[in-house]
Subunit: 350 residues, 3 copies
Amino acid sequence: MSVTFIRNCWYGAGWGEDISRDFLSRMILGEQILFYRKEDGTPCAMADLCPHRFVPLSMGKLVGDTVECLYHGLAFDCSGACVNNPHGNGLIPRTAKVKTYPVAEKWGLVWIWMGDHEFADPETIPDYHWLTDQKYRQVHGTIKLEANYLLVMDNLTDLSHAGFVHEKTLEPREIATASYEVAEKDDQVWTRQFVPSMPVPPLFTMVKGFTGQMDHWLEMRCDPPGCMITFYGVTEPGKTREEGWGTYNPNIITPETESTTHYFWAIARDFDLDDDAMSEAFAEGAGYAFEHEDRPVIEAQQRVLNGRELMDMKPVLLQNDQGSGRARRIIERRLREAAAGPAKSMEAAE
Amino acid sequence: MSVTFIRNCWYGAGWGEDISRDFLSRMILGEQILFYRKEDGTPCAMADLCPHRFVPLSMGKLVGDTVECLYHGLAFDCSGACVNNPHGNGLIPRTAKVKTYPVAEKWGLVWIWMGDHEFADPETIPDYHWLTDQKYRQVHGTIKLEANYLLVMDNLTDLSHAGFVHEKTLEPREIATASYEVAEKDDQVWTRQFVPSMPVPPLFTMVKGFTGQMDHWLEMRCDPPGCMITFYGVTEPGKTREEGWGTYNPNIITPETESTTHYFWAIARDFDLDDDAMSEAFAEGAGYAFEHEDRPVIEAQQRVLNGRELMDMKPVLLQNDQGSGRARRIIERRLREAAAGPAKSMEAAE
Amino acid sequence: MSVTFIRNCWYGAGWGEDISRDFLSRMILGEQILFYRKEDGTPCAMADLCPHRFVPLSMGKLVGDTVECLYHGLAFDCSGACVNNPHGNGLIPRTAKVKTYPVAEKWGLVWIWMGDHEFADPETIPDYHWLTDQKYRQVHGTIKLEANYLLVMDNLTDLSHAGFVHEKTLEPREIATASYEVAEKDDQVWTRQFVPSMPVPPLFTMVKGFTGQMDHWLEMRCDPPGCMITFYGVTEPGKTREEGWGTYNPNIITPETESTTHYFWAIARDFDLDDDAMSEAFAEGAGYAFEHEDRPVIEAQQRVLNGRELMDMKPVLLQNDQGSGRARRIIERRLREAAAGPAKSMEAAE
Ligand code: FES
Ligand code: FES
Ligand code: FES
């Protein structure tokens, strides 16, 4: 099976602290990539592959800002150029170059651009200011899922599963019958639910001790293929959102291979900013929901599909599949455009 | 490699106690199947696959007689019909149906029919009354083998390996030169050996303490592809079988995949019905012979063949291969007939 | 991917002590082979495969000089002929034959010939007399590498990696710029470095305590595909080799499969023959260098290539790749000749 990925877009490569003076080798869209920071702190990304005998450069060492290959000592700088050949007369072969990738650091993450360098504009990284703005406090983490990124995107853009898979941790079943809005503009999809006077979601009982009925909002913004964020909060019946308790939950997914996905999650909140125990409670709760509730379902789908395309299997469509359906159609359209457009603008990953 | 299975026949799906109010998910002929009992005790079988987003239904829960999917709560009854959609207006999409399979409970086993429903007649399940008739006492168990079912069938229909592989547990080598009869009628194959005055088989020394010479019979009935039974016993020289000690050993095999096989075994006997220790001795002896003597040989064959057809490798043929040879030819003929006949009567499993 | 191996040549099959009255089953060029010694000590090799039902003969037992199959007791002698059928009338089917392979015992190893029997001349086994001549003392061992044999050959024929991968155990970096000679004759490749007055290689500091500057030689003889030996030594500046300390390091590699390689290594020395502790030090040092320095690099290359041909990936060529480059071209030429020549002289292994 040969699947294609959108290449001309920013993908989350790691949290800022993941990239350091120690090499990080991470596979993204099926390509093994070496990440490190230069002495001035700037992140770099290049193919984790020595062009001499195809040893991973990450087995070598960082000397100043250059990468020295373990096997025969060729050294490369951040631009991918070979800057030292320690053998014989020391001439550097013209072909001794390593592929590099544009990177940008924003909102506490390092982002990578897998497509044509000339289109790599950091301004197009979606807004996640809730991660860095001092008016919020956040916790975050990284998970690897054994599933194609589209199954993870379906899960994250789908508000309706919460009342079932997360019945005990996030949402009561009542949410399922609540009204539901989907909007799409400029390749961004919003799904919105607002439920007046509903039983308090279990999460807010856990972190704030709330019980009884409250107004509740649940919204998802999706910039396909990989940039999502969920807004989730409660306020007293009839009050405004500003008077309530809001959370802002970036969900950033990046295909590792066709069948595995990096998932960078965070939870920011606009209340109790000084409460360390609450931060821990959010981290634990999120960890539990992802690891024990979402992961088994998503990975079971992957095993069932086993390389087949979900849409080829003619799934039954429910009303609540509109958000993920629109996101999938945006991806399909962009893949078609890339295939039809200038040859360089999209490459097939095997 | 694409191998075909006979579909219009009953396969053993499990022992009666395997199917309960807890879900059992078992793969049969490459299809993942959900088994459970309704509140009235009737066994049900359906595809373990939600038609919405292809999550295994076995991850969900049984509510009365209906199966509720974990991911978004669609509920299905035993006929495979969707009986509840908890979302939005609750309309049930026309395509929300789950594939079901005819099942029957007989001789203490639950049987499944993988082919056309209209041909599923429980009267065609082979006779295994020794399992339920009070004149016998039985022990039984289940094994999974990492081998194609034909290799397991070869092993079970082949009387001649016993004197070698089971030299210490079942048969002395002398059996190899004993005379040998094969008969075939209505797609049933019998292989028969009767040896007057032979050293007592080790099994009867173990369970009864017999020594010296006795008359010995060893017979195999095979209804391909999966229904076998071995009759194995001794009597004093010149006496009738009725005066002797007989065992009745159902060997029921069901392909899980092309390279793995469920094996349901039992040993019934017509003597010492009240002797619990003897039941245990039989269970232990059988367990030892299957696990430590047959399994290594059969699984080694599978690894050696590694997807190749045994008959394509031009095996040397010995006289004692007649039983398994006839059984294989019956299977080949039925597969050819199914392929040529009404399209529905056989499907290729990938 | 289908790769071909040279068949008409001797491959190391094992050290003399590996082949005994206990069966050894070892895969060579993708074929599972049974090795044992006859009662008179002669080694035998035959396919580890019973021609009846394809059970590995190594599961059976050795009775005198014949191999008895576990499953149904057919027995075969060293020539591959069936010499006993214990069933029925005992007639031996004409096709009951096992494939055999010429073997030879020389220099303390058992060698196997995977090609046409008529060309199997033990005189063509390369010279490794340093292993058996009393003027030397040796230690040896066996390693299995998860890599195609060409990557292992590249590593062994490449003198230039030592100053990098083995910087702490074998060679200082200075060796990289030393002059370098390559010679080829009769399908044998020699690579030679001689460095006057160089920092003592770490190995000689370890075993002899030498420090400061010495003259150093480093030479590799390669008879592709699998027979190599490295000559490595030091002498005081301006003195002859004979006055110095020399080691003789057979490196014999044999493809197990396309992606795995048997590696038989030895270190012989011409000094301190009675020093047992030094033998242990050499064995430990070699073990460390192979296991912790070479293996990770070679196996990483294999994972990166993942079935692709290294030369198809257009590697950057450095001066020091001449030795391995010539060896690879000899192999390619011999494979082409075999493909073009008498059909029997080479077979493709899948
Ligand atoms: S493989 Fe990197 S320098 Fe040789
Ligand atoms: S996957 Fe079963 S209800 Fe959605
Ligand atoms: S498999 Fe070897 S004798 Fe039958």
